[in-house]
Amino acid sequence: MYAPGTSLAHRLDPRAKLAVQVGFALAAFAHTSPRGLLVGTGVVACCLWAARTAPWEALTELRLLVPFLLAGPLVEVVVLGPPWLAPEQAVAPALASYRTLLVVLVAAAYVRTTPTRESQAALQWLVPGKPGRALGLCVGLVARYLTVLRADLRRTRTAMRARLGDRLPVHERIRLVAVAGLGRVFDRSDRLALAMRARCLSWNPTLPRLRFGPADAVALGLALALIGWALTPALAPVLASLV
């Protein structure tokens, strides 16, 4: 979740931070080797330092992913038949899990330092025209209505339990909760559409101003370097043939 602050990453332009994320993900996938991931670990350390975020803080928020990261190597290490364990088979999934961990940590640094409004402005800059405006608007509405709908569903389940609804078959309980959620969605979306039009919802609103400073240029340089590094394995044969 976003945490207000004054760290270097908080002050960076969201577009530069998105570029670093994309560049890092590409580089991590292109260099899923112990050496490549060691370099990636250094980049992650820099990102977390810039966001003033401890790795365990980011991992606490993403704890649900941890079982999935451990499951890959554990599932592959067990074989049905002698010798029952094949540690060499666990190497590839272990490297993939570690790569995921690094990508997730870089994304966590972005999430903790970028308010939704800035992401919205970056999206509208990235996707020009009406699709970008629609995307930015919808993401802003998701941010606003997520907690409202969660509270709606919580109230529905509490009411259901009070009426001994938790003794119903699971598919019936799921149906009841979903019907209540859908009803709220249609009710709220009708009122929301009317309210947006009453406030002159337009395709060309005044956007928050995004500023690209010297620190952003450094971040963009890092993103470009990562993208270049990611492309190296693909471009190496072409370059070799030219030389």
Binding site: M1, Y2, V22, A25, E61, L62, L64, L65, F68, L69, V75, P93, A94, A96, S97, T100, V103, V104, A107, Y110, V111, T114, T116, S119, Q120, A122, A134, L135, L137, C138, V139, L141, V142, A143, Y145, L146, V148, R150, L153, R157, V170, H171, I174, R175, V177, A178, V179, G181, L182, G183, V185, F186, S189, D190, L192, A193, M196, R197, S202, W203
Partner: protein, 193 residues
Amino acid sequence: MSTQEQSVDLVDAATALALARVALFAALAGAFAFVSFEYPLSPAPVTLQVLAVFLAGLFLGPVWGSVSMAVYLVAGAVGLPVFAGATAGVGVLFGPTGGYLLSYPLAAGVIGHLAHGGPSLRSLDDVGLPRLVGSLVAGVVVIYTVGTLGLVYFGGLGLEAAIVGGTLVFLPAEALKLVAAVGIARSDDVALD
């Protein structure tokens, strides 16, 4: 201080309503990620995200249903805690479960297209039960095919382990959501204008 003049290009009523529904269905998918039910035949508690994909395809149709699920992914990628366990960020999309998530827009489109018999939305009362069930089964196939590929590519798992650990063990829970989705589509409690 400089001033700038430009005319206002207003969003028409139908598009405003469609965008509101797209956003709220995306938010519902995020809210469903927090709702879990214990189910003896499932190795993990059952969350309702996939049900949101079913409902987006059925109630919004193939076009807006897909857009809604794409908005859900973008919202999660830029940091809103809409993925299972209140997780967020681009990293989740590139993680072991990323394939399942990335399949949602396609699955909603397939479900909507098959259920409504084309790109335009029609009343669910006019959709026969075999077509309804067939569209949802096709959606499940899309989600689990892309999800399994995600486990192989993003998670580094072998194909066999991915199919057993990432698909077969979850199918009973998906059957449960499929039954619930059919019940919702057939119920008079929810009516689309």
